[in-house]
Symmetry: D2
């Protein structure tokens, strides 16, 4: 049976990165419902992320999205974060909102637009240099809405060229994370639609390119933990964008739609020893809190990842391996389910208390007065959003 | 073999309604790419719809969306349409964009918000009275993003109550069309998610309630023509919202993603004699032309429906029935495919020429100068969109 | 907070029916892997079902499948069951394995074949009369593999006629359960593909016709608990065929693929007071244990339903309703998740101990020697299977 | 505009391989409906394949499936084929029907079973040596039904080891084709579930390993032509298993479910110059004619591929490229649709007549008396099937 002390040690070392845009307004094409207290600046987003870290203890970095989080002085922004107790995490590029990108960014048939988009990627590396960020995270909305609209193979060549430029610009300590997505906003064909495409490009680029798995970006029926296991085996799992979904890319709180799936994913991570921050996998959230209160939703999401991780750490791996070797399907499944069915909330409450945190972070946040304060202070100006 | 004259007669009688919002800007949650020449007013949208009718000859009505198309004087708007040669079609309600509707409209737990939403439905009937519109089309975005968020059964009771009020407000010549949708913008549960739910409510309401099938609102693998056939049998097929999709509710041009599916749908319509406008089925488009030119996209969509219809009319129904009776699977399928594989474009070109139309509506539109004119004239003001 | 005593009382009253064919060999079109000890006769299947009841205490009836379980003397079979402590449950018809049914049974274009199939349904009611069974469960594999193969509407008329005959044959205490399925073995169109179709036929038939929900028979993304809630509201939920699936109709152990979904289903059941056996909902398993040991798999499945039910009973419904009324999305979801995250295994162990059962039914079965006994005894003869 | 002569030349050079098992009985787990005249031996299957070639002129090879087509003397079988005018195509291995393979073949936790399965792969290469076959086609049903059942990563290591052995056994003119499949018969996790997994293994193996795309083996919403284009770009597209599907792996006649998709696939093939047999892509059928007459179904399938190819050859590629460069979404789509909407049946009829074939192969087959002859002759013995 897993040693309780080592389980707690692993949980204490866990790191989850929250996204600046998760604190901003978001919605669907039908409506963005604004919420009171939403940040108006990157600095305020970082303050919210720091608040999540203050109550959870495991969220010490915040991912930025450029140009949503563009500022004049990135060194100052980095110091602002440090003052609040967090670091700047992955730098996310955005080449999907300029009017020029209507038919694509780095895969656009127009070389001038490709140049502009590629330059944006290079600029993002400069921001990494300024902020000390390790990860360049690339998601491209590029694709086609209609058959025939453009040449599928030619677009791959253009994509490869842009990725090469950006990769070669990276410093030795920096990495490229390439994200894939089945569809949306492109409806017929997406230029990086699946892990296989991202993986093949990463292999061609070099050792510091790795795949980012967004848990909401797959076709129905896709076994995500298989992809996790396969990329771990190939040494190309770079990061997660955690969220959950029932249908498409719903961007709900991770663990809200299928907590058993999240557990199975973390079971692969733990089994491969990849939970250890030294292994370099960036466990990020990528969520949209369209109708629920944002900061407590992020806190809850962090807790959901912790709970799935705790359960994965509790799997009796020797018993599991023995049942697997014996071909005892029911027993092997039962060993896994025993861990999943365990209520790990007391263990996590204890872990938090050990670290001087409130055992119930959501309740503590609600009591803290932070929400009331930001609702009172953040009046006037323009609330942050996607600017779609 | 189907008589060519009667095929042409049926095609000449066909009516396809276009949506005012299809001429406006639209997009995804990531970006709305504005286009030059887009209408700024309901009057300009109607002018665009009239232009589509002028080049196709089969699109003599335009659906409105309230409040996007709200005006002071509906009688004047109706005359404006008549002056341009078109009629006002279905009145679409919108109870998803007011901040009050964040957690639902007619199914909201708050009775005050339900009252407000229901009143909007009643107001829409008043607009029908003023415009002579026959169809009240109801789509509700109501639903839940998270399990537990609200009570699924209670929401059905609230829905039924609102539908009852609206139904009872209808005049004797007016109808209610109830649309369903699997998901989006609600991500966990939608209050009218499938045809069965819409059908059950319609039966409870009365004879003048019927189901509207949006071809993009189904789960993967759903056989839409089965639903068409079943609702025809039950006498509850009221309308189509035509569009096409590869993944979710992509709202692409009808016939663009799976033209064979569109043919199969029209095959059921023709087989049941339901193409005849006297049968009362409203064949509407509901599309978003996010990246393609809007007016020619609508023209092309109308033509796609015509082509599918022409093929359906060409099915040799006696031979088909004989093969079906004989249990000859291959021959029955071959009879259907023979019609589908026929190139009906010459027949439709001839039909247009017979009616004094250009045989190639898209080319005629492009030559007409209309696009250049609206791009020059429609400068200043605010382009119409969804206002999300 | 729910009263522990009343939770236990509800769990003690729970009834789960197991299927005779779940104890037989099964597999895929690629291979049926036979297992030692599999029953050769209906009597032996009933003995296995009785064994499951002996260890779980909540599975006192067994569903039969005709002709797989056809015997000369049904009264004797009923006594055999009673002697072993179980009852005969639902009678399942089979009109998909006779060569005549290649192109359909009750919807076949050939009236002679329809007659034969309908007679089989009537014969099944006679078996119900002989066994005291209440439920006639109908699943039709009828459908089309190719577009055009037959007329979709005509098949509905034929279906309605056969259902009418069978319904009218029922005694006053008997019911018809109509099951639906998206696809398989028909690949293009299935004659009863969704709950809406089953529901519409049930309403036409009369009050004693109700829908059976097989949890594996839906399109990807379908919200099953919504269907449960809706049919409960309409008074037409007759039964479940429980199992679980990742992709298609996988027929895995219920609760194995998505235990949170099973909990949400039971939450709707409990919320509507429909767990009570007096409400008449038949909670059946319908599973295929292709590679795992059959009897312990059924035991485990029964336990999975119990665990999901226990969690549903633990939902703090007052707190849930309060959060829902307040529009507090996160809190409402949290109340539901609190119940789901509870480890109910100790409660169920206690419940079993209270009833004189072993708290760990799988372990108790393995220790009991039953498996070794049937492997030794059931040698020779032909093992039961699907006979495909 | 494409030159008619060169279009015909390309069509004349086209080669489609038919599968021996397509002529045998097949079905679902529910029922295999036997058909009169079905072959009882590999020799009779080859005779049927030769008949398809005789009427279509483009199907000069037949794939074998071992052990279904195992014979004592492969040289004799090869001569038998040659005498009938066809060649032996790909050799398909079968490591899913022996009782030992219940929990996997090359990925089984038991090393003895892995040895046995790997030896079967090596034996298949020996059959290739004897028959002159170029392609070793590997499909593994290996996978898991339940979470925890086995270790996902360990299974990949075992898979890689077996593939390596088989690859190293190949002669210099021989190739390995690795097929992937989302699910079935494994329901939770499949060891080669997607093209990315197959591709990664092929790259590790060496230049003569390539991916086989079965058009029915994808998750809903997967863009298959993207995979075609991507693998062509990477030089790793080895073969197709053509068929069509509405839901899962339905194995219906290619082109029957979504003829537009088939056209889009062939458009990528033609655009990359990969139709030319010298490019080495093996265009195979992999179908099950469960309820339709088998030989005419295969003929029809071959014709469907021809028709899709002819349409793809008719795409005005210069106009398409110009529209794509101009960013004219509607025009680019229209150019593609113009080719798709063309009725190419007259062109293909002419092509057949040029080659001395009957322009209507299905009618010619039906008139030929072959079916009546085999139904009369093939009496007694055991009809070929899957032996599941």
């Amino acid at each position: 049976m897993p040693d309780r002390a080592s389980v707690k040690e692993a949980l204490r070392a866990q790191r989850i990165e929250t996204p600046s845009w998760g604190y901003a307004n978001s919605g669907t094409r039908f409506k963005v419902f604004a919420q009171p207290g939403v940040p108006r600046t990157p600095q305020e987003k970082i303050a919210d992320a720091a608040t999540v870290h203050r109550f959870t203890g495991v969220a010490p970095s915040v991912a930025l999205h450029i140009p949503w989080d563009a500022v004049e002085d990135y060194a100052a922004l980095t110091r602002h974060a440090a003052d609040l107790g967090v670091e700047i995490g992955a730098i996310n590029t955005n080449v999907f909102q300029d009017p020029d990108y209507k038919l694509g960014s780095v895969t656009n048939p127009d070389p001038g637009i490709r140049r502009k988009a590629t330059d944006h990627l290079l600029d993002a590396v400069a921001i990494m240099d300024a902020t000390g960020s390790r990860d360049l995270k690339l998601w491209f909305s590029d694709g086609l809405n209609y058959p025939g609209q453009d040449d599928l193979r030619a677009r791959q060549d253009r994509l490869a060229a842009a990725l090469r430029e950006a990769y070669d610009r990276l410093g030795g300590h920096q990495r490229m994370l390439l994200e894939y997505k089945l569809f949306e906003p492109a409806f017929y064909a997406t230029d990086v639609p699946d892990w296989g495409t991202a993986y093949a490009h990463c292999v061609e680029l070099g050792e510091r390119a790795a795949v980012c798995i967004d848990t909401g970006h797959h076709a129905p029926g896709t076994n995500i933990e298989f992809i996790v296991a396969f990329l771990l085996r190939q040494g190309r799992l770079g990061a997660f964008d955690f969220n959950s979904r029932f249908y498409a890319d719903d961007d709900l709180m991770v663990g809200a739609a299928d907590p058993f799936q999240l557990f199975r994913i973390m079971h692969e991570i733990v089994g491969a020893g990849a939970l250890d921050p030294a292994r370099g996998i960036n466990f990020m959230l990528d969520q949209c809190h369209n109708i629920e209160a944002k900061i407590p939703a992020v806190i809850r999401s962090v807790m959901n990842v912790q709970e799935a991780t705790a359960k994965a750490l509790l799997v009796e791996r020797d018993a599991l391996a023995a049942a697997q070797r014996a071909g005892d399907v029911l027993e092997a499944n039962a060993v896994l389910m025993d861990a999943y069915n365990t209520d790990v909330r007391p263990l996590l409450a204890e872990l938090r208390a050990d670290s001087g945190l409130d055992p119930d972070p959501v309740a503590a946040y609600r009591r803290s007065g932070y929400q009331q304060a930001i609702e009172a202070e953040r009046v006037g100006g323009e609330q942050a959003g996607w600017g779609a």
